[in-house]
Symmetry: C2
Subunit: 152 residues, 2 copies
DNA sequence: AGGTATTCAGACTTATTTATCTGAAATATA
DNA sequence: TATATTTCAGATAAATAAGTCTGAATACCT
């Protein structure tokens, strides 16, 4: 198989986006996220904990507890999430699997790949979560796999 | 971790490229490939067998046996190799992990991703192995991880 | 205070990928 | 024909990723 990001990372992106659709300060439980996004409950718990430790989310225990964004949605980009879950190795990786990817000792698709990789990076930092949430409120966009749009 | 292609696939690419540097019809053993490219011997054996079954390589048993390209290097692209090892699912995958990636029900980075994905596809089909082998003969390029250039 | 709903922490299981081992089949060469 | 060298096939093992379970800690509510 060949992926871009790990499944954990995909779940993390979906969850943060879902939280960004909620009103400021509103708490959302793992249960709700897991149901609505079709993510295994306990697995999601772990992922949200990681994001919380990194400061991307904040959490609160007890009834009426749950998770919410840990910083303003304007300040969160996909790159933050990817960085927190998968790390940023992909910015240094060679298509051929060679150890170091650099201009002085390139493989034969290095030039093309460098451009594409920069494109991926731009995709990850250019849009913040607030903007993506706004997109997602339009009916044409979707938050979860099957669902188009979402009613919270 | 986040990768583009599986490790098997990276090994496959390196191996096919190495074989393309050999004279037409020359047989290369798993042993030589494994040593020069620093790939686990038996694991590489499996991978080369897969490529052989797909017709990308041809193999011959016995002393002076080994592997060679199964078609003219001008006709082999990276896409053939990726297709044989990892499959082509990545051409249909959504960055957010949603089930179907399409224009009618997009996620909020679908537009950017579609462009990038097409770029990856072009990278994989635009250069054939013969051209890449020619690149690799220049001292600035490298065939194996540490090695710059290669003396066969 | 007591009951309930939630996150948190850690051990555990399962699935997938990567890697290894063993021996059989094929083939060149002496 | 005998021997050595190679690929081939299938089982096995180790490493990593994905997912599950249990109970403790925390906080709300009556
Ligand atoms: S050296 Fe291979 S992609 Fe840069
Ligand atoms: S729908 Fe997400 S990348 Fe196409």
């Amino acid at each position: 198989m060949s992926l871009i990001f790990s499944r954990q990372c995909e779940y993390a992106i979906q969850s943060v986006l879902y939280l960004a659709l909620k009103h400021h300060g509103e708490m959302t439980s793992i249960r709700e996220l897991a149901q609505r996004l079709d993510i295994p409950y306990h697995f999601l718990g772990k992922i949200l904990q990681s994001l919380t430790r990194k400061g991307l989310l904040l959490s609160h225990k007890g009834p009426a507890g749950g998770f919410a964004l840990g910083m303003p949605p304007q300040d969160i980009t996909l790159f933050h999430i990817v960085e927190a879950i998968d790390g940023t190795d992909f910015t240094r990786m060679c298509v051929f699997g060679f150890s170091e990817c650099n201009d002085t000792n390139p493989c034969s698709v290095h030039e093309q790949w460098s451009v594409l990789r920069e494109g991926v990076y731009q995709m990850l930092i250019s849009k913040n979560i607030a903007a993506m949430a706004k997109d997602t409120k339009q009916p044409a966009f979707r938050i979860a796999s099957g669902m188009s749009n979402v009613s919270l």
